[in-house]
């Protein structure tokens, strides 16, 4: 097992719209990225587990080969900037990913 922080160069969150967050993981190494993709190590279930939410709140896991990147779509519970929102830009919602362990 390896912690995601050991193999990732970038781990970040950001709004992709007022209703959605996008979580980006960019891997340091192409081989690790390929292995993660081939063995489908980053599943909606794994990400949902890190946030302790239902996998249905995780929309999709997409791979972008030129950037060695994995992109995960996640529903916002409160629209950006609506009363009760805590993070208008969605830029600080990535922390639970830092604890992910991958079966590498």
């Amino acid at each position: 097992m390896k912690n995601l922080r050991e193999v990732a160069q970038v781990i970040r969150s950001k709004n992709s719209s007022p209703m959605k967050l996008t979580l980006d993981i960019i891997f340091k190494d192409r081989e690790v990225f390929e292995e993660v993709r081939r063995r489908e190590l980053l599943t909606p279930e794994l990400v949902a587990g890190a946030y302790q939410i239902s996998p249905e709140e995780i929309e999709k896991v997409l791979y972008f080969e030129p950037a060695r990147a994995v992109k995960i779509g996640m529903r916002r519970r409160v629209r950006s900037g609506s009363p009760g929102d805590t993070d208008v830009y969605g830029a600080q919602q990535h922390a639970p990913l830092l604890g992910l362990e991958l079966d590498l």
């Binding site: 992709s16 719209s17 209703m19 972008f64 950037a67 629209r79 208008v88």
Partner: protein
């Protein structure tokens, strides 16, 4: 075959600033266009709803002055997208005022083209009824009353209104809400350049040096369009583009990195290659544009949902910190009871930094080990007076609340400021984030041409083609 086309992007958002040395180095390359994106929905619904810019007047005017004086004097077109941050009429008028001031102060003469992005609420309502307006990302459809309550409804225009103004001889074009790449792509496409490459280049240039490494939102870069590729160059010595930095930027703020939807179609990036040309330059090839069967634009609007008042305080007592969730709930219940008696309605939110202030319900680390907590009391009510009343009551109740186990009986909160309460004015919520099918993507948007000759301003007529 269209010639090489060079685009200078001074900064990621008009008003964020840029080093003059980078800009001047870009000018030495003889750009065909200076373009800048001035907007974003990132800062939330307030700016679109209120008609106010999220950037500062001094910063915006300073950036505009550099772009306009060099651009106009050298005959280089200047295009500004999403004026004033949100691109509704008051934002555009604000930015137009700054341009007129600069023309007067610098004695510049040019033809200024304006493209308004505002859409009539009745057009939106008709579209919602006929199915031509469809929600994005699971947003529910607003009621008729909610749509009519939005102070501004904008649509992200594509290239067409900007191209119409360029064809009419405008040297400076100021657009309302605009698809981010359009201010970069509209003119080169008009000259015969590839839609896919020009749009993809615009996607990168709209963030200026953010796609370079080290990234910066306030530095200039140059994009060069060629027949079947484009090139990116950083303009300051400490920055460079790499295939990795450019590819990684493609992900930024997008839900799908390979399919980027926009007005009239999507960019398909599945076959794209990023090649290192050395000296901090990157070449991109293989972008495809896939038109949608029906042309659609994205609508944005924010509706008023009341008025907000805040109060900020710190908590250092370990006994209170140890039972803060329980105490906060008790304070809320006490306030609710008092409000019911006075028939005042409103909502109270506690943002507790050091506990779950950043992630709210999503926070799972609630070990409660912080030695101090930051507390933001947020109140929302139908009027500012009611919000002030509830905030005052919440603050005083929290300050003196006799929670279980309390031994510090003088007060529970440390206020950094006097006055402690801050009226925030009207509050908004995004209520349209929808796609709307349009028959004519040029005629949806009102255009106006203004002739500026130093201090003399000759306004034109507002037209749709």
């Amino acid at each position: 075959m269209p010639r090489e086309y060079k685009i200078l992007s001074p900064t990621a958002i008009l008003g964020y600033g840029f080093p003059e040395s980078s800009f001047l180095k870009g000018l030495e390359e003889g750009p065909d266009l200076i373009a800048v994106d001035a907007g974003s929905t990132d800062p939330g619904p307030y700016y679109l709803g209120s008609g106010k810019p999220f950037t500062d007047r001094v910063g915006v005017k300073s950036d505009l002055r550099t772009m306009l004086t060099h651009g106009v004097r050298r005959g280089i077109p200047v295009v500004i997208g999403t004026a004033g941050g949100s691109g509704a009429r008051p934002h555009l008028e604000w930015c137009r005022g700054l341009i007129e001031e600069i023309a007067r102060e610098e004695d510049l003469s040019f033809r200024l083209g304006l493209a308004y992005a505002d859409v009539d609420p009745e057009v939106v309502l008709a579209g919602l009824r006929s199915g031509k307006v469809q929600a994005l990302d699971g947003l529910e459809d607003p009621t008729d009353e909610q749509v009519r309550s939005c102070p501004h409804i904008v649509a992200q225009m594509g290239n067409e209104p900007l191209q119409a103004l360029a064809r009419e001889g405008c040297q400076v074009i100021l657009a309302g809400r605009c698809y981010d790449p359009a201010c970069f792509a509209a003119l080169p496409i008009l000259e015969g350049h590839d839609v896919a490459l020009a749009t993809h280049l615009g996607k990168i240039l709209e963030c200026a040096a953010i796609a370079a490494t080290p990234g910066s939102g306030s530095d200039s870069v140059l994009g060069i369009l060629r027949q079947d590729s484009f090139e990116l160059r950083a303009l300051s010595p400490e920055r460079r583009f790499t295939p990795q930095s450019t590819a990684a930027h493609t992900l930024y703020e997008k839900s799908d990195p390979c399919h980027l939807p926009g007005p009239g179609g999507s960019l398909d990036l599945t076959g794209v290659s990023f090649t290192d040309l050395g000296e901090g330059r990157v070449e991109v090839r293989g972008t495809r544009f896939v038109p949608t069967p029906r042309y659609a634009v994205k609508l944005e609007a924010a509706r008023p949902v009341g008025f907000r008042t805040l109060s900020i305080a710190g908590i250092r007592d370990p006994i209170l910190i140890g039972s803060i969730r329980k105490v906060a709930g008790q304070v809320k219940a006490r306030v609710d009871e008092l409000l019911r008696r006075e028939s005042v309605t409103g909502e109270v939110f506690f943002h507790m930094y050091g506990l779950n202030g950043v992630m709210g319900d999503l926070e799972r680390d609630d070990s409660g080990t912080s030695h101090e907590l930051g507390l933001v009391m947020e109140v929302l009510a139908p009027t500012q007076e009611q919000a002030n009343t509830i905030c005052s009551l919440t603050r005083s109740t929290f300050l003196h609340y006799g929670y279980e186990g309390r031994i510090a009986t003088a007060g529970n909160l440390a206020f950094p400021f006097s006055p402690s309460d801050v009226p925030m004015g009207p509050t908004f919520e995004f209520c349209l984030y929808h796609l709307m099918e349009v028959a004519d993507p040029e005629a949806l948007f009102i255009r106006e041409i203004v002739n500026l000759d130093g201090a003399r301003v000759t306004p034109g007529k507002e037209v749709r083609s």
